[in-house]
């Protein structure tokens, strides 16, 4: 081993670069992206076909205006909405896990989802409306409050945990913040019973009230958040080597962190404001991506986002189909499925050396 490379090695180095692929994970990442995109296409079609009136609506869309209305005004937007909410949650999970260097971080466990729900509840209590009938301005108001709530909750959790170093402390702080903010939300409900019905969407999680307006808003927000996360993905990569090393690589930690926390809060706020509290999608999506393709965050944030989208849309379709013509709130389904996944993950990690 010396730095003066002997001639034979120089030759090998000159010939070799093609042989070891420059980025070992990128082929699997491309493959995964293809799978997720085709999965999206299939699920979107499926989402348009599943509903209380059955498959017929799609077949008769051309001739029957009622069927057209059902598919175009109800099924398509909520299908797309579930995809977008999942994309936002998957993205938020990937950003949270990278930013806090904590494999169990996600919008739900960090308390930011509860903060967003509280923000949304305050907005609805003040404006006195339900998300179904809301216009643009009101919708923006609810999203804005949800965003503020999410950002505030993350900061609160970080403060309580005294930093991000300690995995269990961070999670514990997140749980505490979630419970306390949930209690405040309950208080608001008690004080303003008129919002009780719309609050059910928030607490159980459902795509049933997502219309085209909401889709447009979520899509714009998703583009913004994903773009931000992608542009700042270097910090997430650098942080994997530790804070000091990241700083030694010339990365401006403070502003980049602030940008990522804002993206995390906006993604959470947008998702929660439209589909309510949906647990574990943000946790599971990045994990699934990592178990398939190990890539730098520039790819990881996009893949996690797509994975979250496919997961939530699949869960949403399942929730609509399992007891059709009735439906389960999708949040209940993801909580049940995601909870089991988390248990399995913890079991595996504990056996492999502990959290």
């Amino acid at each position: 081993m010396n730095l003066h490379v002997p001639p034979s090695d120089t030759l090998a180095a000159a010939v070799e670069p093609a042989a070891p692929s420059p980025a070992p994970g990128s082929r699997r990442a491309a493959l995964l992206a293809t799978w997720l995109l085709s999965g999206t296409a299939v699920l979107l079609l499926l989402g348009a076909s599943v509903g209380s009136t059955g498959w017929d609506s799609v077949l008769h869309m051309g001739s029957d205006p009622l069927a057209w209305q059902i598919v175009w005004d109800i099924r398509l937007p909520r299908t797309l909405g579930a995809w977008l909410a999942g994309a936002l949650l998957g993205l938020a999970g990937a950003v949270a896990q990278g930013l806090f260097r904590n494999p169990l971080a996600d919008p739900y466990l960090l308390g930011s989802a509860s903060g967003a729900a509280l923000g949304g509840a305050i907005a609805m209590a003040m404006l006195g409306v339900s998300p179904t009938t809301a216009g643009w301005l009101v919708r923006l108001g609810v999203v804005g409050m949800a965003f503020l709530g999410a950002a505030g909750a993350v900061l609160l959790t970080l403060m309580l945990a005294g930093g991000v170093q300690h995995t269990l402390r961070l999670l514990l702080a997140g749980v505490i913040v979630g419970v306390v903010l949930g209690a405040v939300r309950d208080l608001i409900q008690v004080a303003k019973p008129s919002i009780l019905e719309s609050m059910q969407v928030f607490t159980m999680g459902s795509s049933a009230f997502v219309g085209w307006q909401a889709c447009a808003l979520m899509a714009a927000g998703w583009a913004l958040c994903a773009g931000t996360a992608w542009a700042l993905s270097r910090l997430l990569d650098g942080l994997m080597l530790g804070e000091a090393t990241a700083a030694s690589l010339g990365l401006p930690l403070a502003p980049m962190r602030a940008g990522l926390v804002l993206a995390l809060a906006l993604a959470t706020g947008l998702a929660v404001a439209h589909t309510g509290l949906i647990a574990f999608v943000g946790l599971a999506a990045p994990h699934l991506v990592r178990s398939i393709a190990r890539v730098t965050h520039q790819w990881h944030v996009w893949l996690s986002s797509l994975m979250g989208a496919v997961l939530l849309l699949a869960a949403d379709i399942l929730a609509r189909w399992v007891i059709a013509p009735q439906e389960l709130p999708v949040g209940v389904l993801t909580a049940a499925l995601g909870g089991s996944y988390l248990l399995w993950l913890m079991h595996r990690r504990t056996r492999g050396g502990g959290l």
């Binding site: 730095l3 070891p20 990569d237 010339g250």
Partner: protein, 268 residues
């Protein structure tokens, strides 16, 4: 006059009420390997962080100059190209392949959002070969043993190709043959004009450096060539005469001093 790679003036640092560093003045010559040793809690790692401008969670005072320029006046990315850092037990990059981890060392050289260039790939490959980690460049860090990981992380620091490299206990988890390899890599780096500063617990390896900085209780108690008798005396003293420095086959090494000998030396 010697070229100075890093010059520190009146460096003090404290966390809460505890003084970690108490007014340190230090001139580290360029093109040489300096090892920093001292008992636990002497402030070695904190000093190294202060020299790298990475002291975050402590109140720090004093001036540091890197290659003749005030450290804080150098733009971050430029500084990152001139000064490479290898910390201890910081990495959580378990899921990335070794190659990608080493490629992170090229971040200061790559324009924003740009994919790695041919030069980046060449630097990473060379660094991984230098630390004999090329063999598992496609494997994830989590699949490697402690020593193998350490060699990948070392390659990450080498891939920066900085003129000054600071390493905090780089030998952790390395077995003796790879400690020797690490030493040879540092020697080669210094022969090419690089400057290496390393905090080391392995005193015998530290004695193979060009210069030695000996610290105790937040102060530098001695700074001189490793071959000097004065350095050896200072070294024995800072470790309470529990070690003795001896020459074997032309190399200086530190041996444990047995209790009886320690008592007798205390008497005389």
């Amino acid at each position: 006059m010697k070229n100075i790679a890093i010059s520190a003036r009146q460096i003090s640092a404290s966390i809460g009420n505890a003084h970690i560093l108490r007014g340190i003045d230090l001139d580290l010559p360029a093109g040489r390997w300096t090892s920093v040793v001292g008992p636990n809690g002497a402030g070695k790692s904190t000093l190294l962080k202060a020299l790298a401008g990475l002291l975050r969670h402590a109140r720090a005072q004093g001036q540091v100059e890197l290659l003749g320029r005030p450290l804080h006046a150098i733009p971050m990315r430029e500084r990152a190209r001139q000064l490479a850092w290898l910390g201890q037990n910081e990495s959580t990059a378990d899921d990335l392949p070794a190659y990608e981890v080493a490629m992170l060392g090229r971040l200061p050289h790559r324009p924003w959002m740009a994919p790695p260039s041919a030069a980046d790939h060449a630097a990473v490959q060379q660094a991984l070969r230098t630390t004999q980690a090329w063999e598992w460049h496609a494997r994830a860090l989590s699949e490697l043993s402690g020593g193998e990981r350490q060699r990948v992380l070392l390659a990450r620091a080498l891939a920066v190709q900085a003129s000054v490299t600071l390493m905090d206990e780089p030998l952790a988890n390395l077995d003796p043959p790879h400690q020797t390899d690490w030493m040879l890599a540092v020697r080669a780096l210094v022969e090419q004009g690089g400057t290496v500063v390393s905090v080391l617990h392995e005193v015998s390896i530290a004695l193979q450096a060009d210069d030695m900085v000996i610290m105790a209780a937040g102060r530098v108690v001695h700074h001189g060539p490793c071959a000097d008798a004065a350095t050896h005396r200072a070294l024995e003293q800072v470790f309470d005469h529990r070690i003795q420095v001896r020459q074997i086959d032309g190399a200086w090494i530190a041996l444990p001093r047995m209790a009886a000998q320690a008592t007798s030396s205390l008497i005389d």
